[in-house]
C-alpha cells in the first residue's frame, strides 16, 4: 500500500498519562473509503487513540498523520475535514436539535445556502425531522446518538471518527445506528469505529485492529482473523461443575482448543454437531449445548485468554 491512499497513518504512536501508558507505540494505517475498527475491552486505549486522531489530545510520542497533515500543528485544518462522534454525547443542551446542526455548520464555516438543505437532509437521514425544534435533553439515548452522528456529518467530512457509537443503546436503537453507518459506508465515507462489541466490529468493519492493554495485538479483516485464530465453529456447553474438568481433559485431544469460562466451556472445532455427539457418546450429560459460528470474541479470547466484555 502506498501512503498516498492512507487517510491516517500512525507509527509508534504513544499516549502517556504520566506515569501510566494508555497507548503504547501502536502502528496502523487507515485507507480512504474503508471502515476501520479498533476492537478492545474497556481501558485498552481506544478513546485515547481516537482523541489523538481528532486533534484534541497531543501524542506523547511517535508519528501521526491525519489526511496528510500534522494533527498538532495543523489542528484547525485537520478538524475542518473530519467528523467526530465522541464516546460521551456533548450536544449543546441550550439549543434545539436543528440549532445544534445550524451552529456546527457555522463553526465549520459551511456557507448558509449549503447548510440549510444539508441540515434538512441530515435530519431526515437520522430520522429526527419531527423533533427538529425539540430541545436536546428530552431526546432518548438513541436519538441523541443519531443527532451526534448528523452533527459529525455537517461539514461533509472525508473521515468520521465514531467512539463506541452504540454503547448504552437498546437493541432496536443500535440497529438503527448500524443501518445509518452502513449507508455511510456504502457512500464511500471513511469510517473509524471503536467498539467492545464484536458483532458491531464484524458487521461494520472491513478491517480492524484488536487492542488490549495499550497495544495492538493483531489486525486483519473480521473473516481473516476468525480464520486465523479460531475454528469455523464453536460448541458452547454448560455442564455440572463436578464433571467439568473431566470433560475438558477428555476433549483436549479431539478438538482444536478448549476454553474454560466461568459459566461454560468452549470447544473450538470444525464440526460442532459431531463434537457434541461425541461428548454424549462418552457419557457426559450437558445442561445445555449450542453450536455457533466463531466470532471476533473467540479471536480475542484466543489471543488474550480473556473475554471482551467482562
Amino acid at each position: 500500500m502506498t501512503t498516498s491512499d492512507a487517510l491516517i497513518s500512525a507509527r509508534s504512536l504513544t499516549k502517556r498519562f504520566d506515569p501510566f501508558v494508555a497507548v503504547d507505540g501502536i502502528d496502523f494505517e487507515v485507507r480512504r473509503g474503508e471502515a476501520f475498527g479498533f476492537l478492545g475491552p474497556n481501558g485498552a486505549g481506544k478513546t485515547s487513540t481516537m482523541r489523538m486522531i481528532a486533534c484534541i489530545s497531543p501524542p506523547s510520542g511517535g508519528e501521526l498523520r491525519v489526511i496528510g497533515m500534522d494533527p498538532v500543528t495543523q489542528a484547525s485544518e485537520v478538524k475542518a475535514r473530519i467528523g467526530v462522534v465522541p464516546q460521551m454525547d456533548n450536544l449543546d443542551i441550550e439549543l434545539t436539535v436543528r440549532e445544534n446542526l445550524e451552529m456546527y455548520a457555522r463553526y465549520f464555516d459551511v456557507p448558509r445556502e449549503v447548510a440549510g438543505p444539508r441540515i434538512d437532509d441530515l435530519l431526515d437521514f437520522v430520522q429526527l425531522t419531527e423533533r427538529s425544534s425539540s430541545k436536546v435533553e428530552p431526546l432518548s439515548g438513541g436519538m441523541k446518538r443519531r443527532l451526534t452522528i448528523a452533527r459529525s456529518l455537517i461539514n461533509d467530512p472525508d473521515l468520521i471518527l465514531l467512539d463506541e457509537p452504540t454503547t448504552g443503546l437498546d437493541p432496536q436503537a443500535r440497529h438503527l445506528v448500524w443501518d445509518r453507518l452502513y449507508r455511510l459506508k456504502q457512500r464511500g465515507v471513511t469510517l473509524v469505529i471503536t467498539t467492545h462489541y464484536m458483532d458491531e466490529a464484524e458487521q461494520l468493519c472491513d478491517r480492524l485492529v484488536v487492542m488490549d492493554k495499550a497495544k495492538i495485538v493483531t489486525e486483519g479483516s473480521p473473516r481473516d482473523l476468525i480464520n486465523r485464530y479460531s475454528t469455523r465453529e464453536v460448541l458452547e456447553v454448560r455442564i455440572d461443575d463436578e464433571v467439568r474438568e473431566k470433560l475438558i481433559a477428555a476433549m483436549q485431544g479431539s478438538v482444536d482448543k478448549v476454553e474454560s469460562l466461568p459459566d461454560r466451556v468452549l470447544l473450538y472445532t470444525e464440526n460442532g454437531d459431531a463434537t457434541l455427539a461425541s461428548i454424549h457418546e462418552q457419557g457426559f450429560e450437558t445442561v445445555s449445548a449450542l453450536v455457533r459460528r466463531a466470532t471476533l470474541e473467540d479471536v480475542f479470547l484466543t489471543i488474550t485468554g480473556r473475554s471482551l466484555v467482562e
Binding site: 498519562f17 507505540g25 484534541i56 497531543p58 510520542g61 500543528t73 460521551m88 449543546d92 439549543l95
Partner: protein, 269 residues
C-alpha cells in the same frame, strides 16, 4: 519496537476574531430561549442607585472628587455603571462557562470543529463583554435621564464600559480555569465578587480607608473600572485617568492568555 520520539513542541494556536465570533453567535441563539434571564442583570445596579443613591444619599453631604463637589447619586452612579460590566462578566464570563466546561461539555464538542481553545476563551470574553455593555449602555441612558452625567467626556463612557467588561470577563475566565466544584461558585461570590462590589470605591471614596488598606483596594480591577467611569461621567478626567485604561487593557490581555492556558489544561489531555 519502542523508539522514543521527542514529544512535539507545544504550539498554542492564536485566536482569530472570525472563529471567536462564532461563540457570540451561539450565545445569541441560546439566549433567545432564555431572554428573561438576560434582563436580570440590568435591574440590579438600578435598584442600588435608587435605594442607596437617592435614599441613603439624602443623608450624605457633597463628596469632593477630583476638584469637584459631587452629590452622592452622581458619585455612586458610575460605580454602579462599573458593576453592570461586572454583572456581564460574572454571568457569562464565569457562571455559564463554568457549567459549559464542567457539566454540559459544550466546549468538548466545539473543540472537534476548527475552533481552538483560544478562540473559545476569546469568544466567551467578547460575549460577556457585550452583555455587560448592553447593561452599561442602558444604565448610561438612565443616568442621562436622571441628570447624573456632568461632562462631555461621558461619550467615552461606553467604550470604557466595554474595556472594563473585557478586563473583568477575562479575569472571570481565569476563575473558570481554576474551579471545578459546585461549591467554588459560592466561594467566588462571597470571597471575590461581593467584597469587590462593595469595597472598591464603588459606594464611597477609597480615601476613607486607612493608608495600608488603600493600595490593596486600588489593586482591584473594579476600582480602576469605577474610577475611570467616574472620571468620565463627572468630568474629573485628567492624564491620571489613563492609568486606569492601561490597567484594564493589561488585565484583558494577560488574563485572557492565562485563561486560555488554564482551560487548555482542563480540556486537552
Amino acid at each position: 519496537m519502542s523508539v522514543e520520539f521527542e514529544p512535539p513542541p507545544q504550539v498554542y494556536p492564536r485566536p482569530t476574531f472570525a472563529r471567536a465570533r462564532k461563540l457570540v453567535e451561539r450565545n445569541i441563539l441560546a439566549y433567545r430561549h432564555y431572554w428573561i434571564a438576560f434582563t436580570t442583570g440590568f435591574f440590579e445596579p438600578i435598584f442600588y442607585l435608587g435605594a442607596v443613591g437617592f435614599g441613603v444619599g439624602q443623608f450624605v453631604d457633597r463628596i469632593p472628587y477630583g476638584g469637584l463637589e459631587l452629590e452622592y447619586a452622581a458619585f455612586l452612579a458610575p460605580g454602579m455603571l462599573a458593576s453592570s460590566s461586572l454583572n456581564g462578566a460574572l454571568f457569562d464570563g464565569f457562571f455559564t462557562p463554568f457549567f459549559k466546561l464542567n457539566w454540559q461539555k459544550t466546549y468538548d464538542g466545539m473543540l472537534t470543529t476548527p475552533l481552538n481553545i483560544s478562540d473559545i476563551a476569546l469568544g466567551e470574553i467578547i460575549w460577556a463583554m457585550i452583555r455587560g455593555t448592553i447593561y452599561g449602555a442602558s444604565f448610561l441612558l438612565v443616568m442621562l435621564g436622571l441628570g447624573l452625567i456632568r461632562s462631555p467626556w461621558a461619550v467615552l463612557a461606553l467604550p470604557a464600559v466595554m474595556l472594563s467588561g473585557a478586563a473583568l470577563s477575562s479575569g472571570a475566565m481565569v476563575l473558570v480555569g481554576i474551579t471545578k466544584e459546585i461549591s467554588s461558585l459560592d466561594k467566588v461570590m462571597t470571597l471575590i465578587v461581593v467584597p469587590m462590589f462593595l469595597f472598591s470605591g464603588t459606594f464611597y471614596p477609597v480615601s476613607l480607608y486607612p493608608g495600608w488598606l488603600q493600595p490593596i483596594v486600588m489593586a482591584t480591577p473594579l476600582y480602576h473600572s469605577a474610577t475611570l467611569l467616574r472620571d468620565l461621567t463627572s468630568g474629573a478626567a485628567d492624564p491620571g485617568t489613563l492609568v486606569h485604561v492601561a490597567y484594564l487593557l493589561a488585565m484583558f490581555v494577560l488574563a485572557a492568555t492565562v485563561a486560555s492556558r488554564l482551560i487548555r489544561k482542563r480540556l486537552i489531555t
